[in-house]
């Protein structure tokens, strides 16, 4: 059984090949053009997102000023931890009163003593509270 007898040369001619190559080149050019358009559209979409959506989201979330207040008054109470919905809430325990803030002592005056060494890049600086009688 000789199967190579089945081999017949293909029926295409040079003109067919020329037409095929021309169609391939035209298709490639068209695809590349489409590729650029898609790329530009993507860029425009991304730019639109940045320009349009980001400021919008900023407006929607107002900045809340954080205020920190220190009080020496008696505390009202403490909110217990939030547990799962269902079990009864434990009674609020009173918290320990906040200790009154001690008045800070007046800043003491310091005496600065500089000791120069042989090495010009090294200096020993000694800071000590100034004595009243000095």
């Amino acid at each position: 059984m000789n199967l190579d007898q089945l081999r017949t040369p293909h029926p295409l001619h040079d003109a067919d090949f020329a037409a095929i190559r021309a169609r391939v080149k035209a298709e490639i050019a068209q695809r590349e053009e489409r590729g650029w358009v898609v790329l530009l559209l993507r860029f425009a979409f991304a730019a639109g997102l940045v320009v349009g959506v980001v400021p919008f989201t900023r407006e929607r979330v107002p900045e809340v000023p954080v205020q920190v207040a220190v009080s020496s008054r008696e505390p009202i109470g403490q909110i217990g931890p939030i547990g799962p919905i269902g079990p009864p809430i434990r009674p609020i325990r009173p918290i320990r009163p906040i200790r009154p803030i001690r008045p800070t002592p007046a800043p003491t005056q310091l005496t600065r003593i500089e000791i120069l060494t042989e090495d010009p890049t090294i200096r020993i600086i000694w800071l000590t509270p100034k004595e009243n009688n000095s």
Binding site: M1, R7, D16, F17, R21, V24, K25, E27
Partner: protein, 189 residues
């Protein structure tokens, strides 16, 4: 210089030229891609013709093969065999064409039974026509292996690359196909 040495020298020169063209086409040189199409068009058309057997289908297949070649050329590794790689693209394009053709044209009865019809008695007298029918009746993978290796005479390793399988698998497929063809021919001749 012997005749064999001349042939090897010519083949090497052709390979070098082909690889230079491929590299230039990979770099985006349109003229190099055109040259690559010219260098490979006969081979692509021959494989497509052997599988499809229809002039218009072959033209479409060659065009689609070159479009896929353009798309995937960047992925081609120069260490691999270009002929086998291109044959694989061609075979895949032809497989798609066969799938479309079966879905649209071929009636179910023809798919189920390769029995000859009464009005084809004249054709059956011709052994060659009978052999062609026998090849067409083979399972798709065996049919492709037989066409590429036995009909078109491609090397077994190239057939394996083209079909995406191993050399051993191709040999087994061809051996099985030959046994089936022999049985088919004995039954119908």
């Amino acid at each position: 210089m012997t005749a064999e040495a001349v042939v090897i020298d010519e083949s090497t020169r052709h390979d070098d030229s082909l690889h230079l063209t491929i590299r230039a086409a990979q770099a985006g040189d349109a003229a190099a891609f055109e040259e690559l199409m010219v260098l490979t068009q006969q081979r692509v058309a021959q494989i497509a013709w052997a599988i499809l057997g229809d002039r218009e289908d072959v033209k479409d297949a060659v065009q689609e093969t070159f479009l896929r070649l353009y798309r995937f050329l960047g992925r081609y590794d120069a260490k691999r065999d270009f002929s086998g790689w291109l044959a694989r693209i061609t075979v895949n394009v032809c497989r798609d064409a066969l799938r479309r053709r079966k879905r649209v044209f071929e009636p179910l009865a023809d798919l189920e039974s390769p029995e000859p019809r009464a009005d084809e008695d004249l054709i059956h007298r011709n052994d060659l026509a009978l052999l062609r029918r026998a090849v067409d009746a083979l399972p798709p993978k065996e049919r492709l292996a037989v066409i590429l290796r036995e009909v078109e005479g491609l090397p077994t390793d190239e057939v394996a690359t083209a079909l995406g399988s191993t050399v051993t698998t191709v040999r087994v497929q061809i051996s099985r196909a030959r046994a089936k063809l022999r049985a088919w021919m004995e039954k119908h001749s």
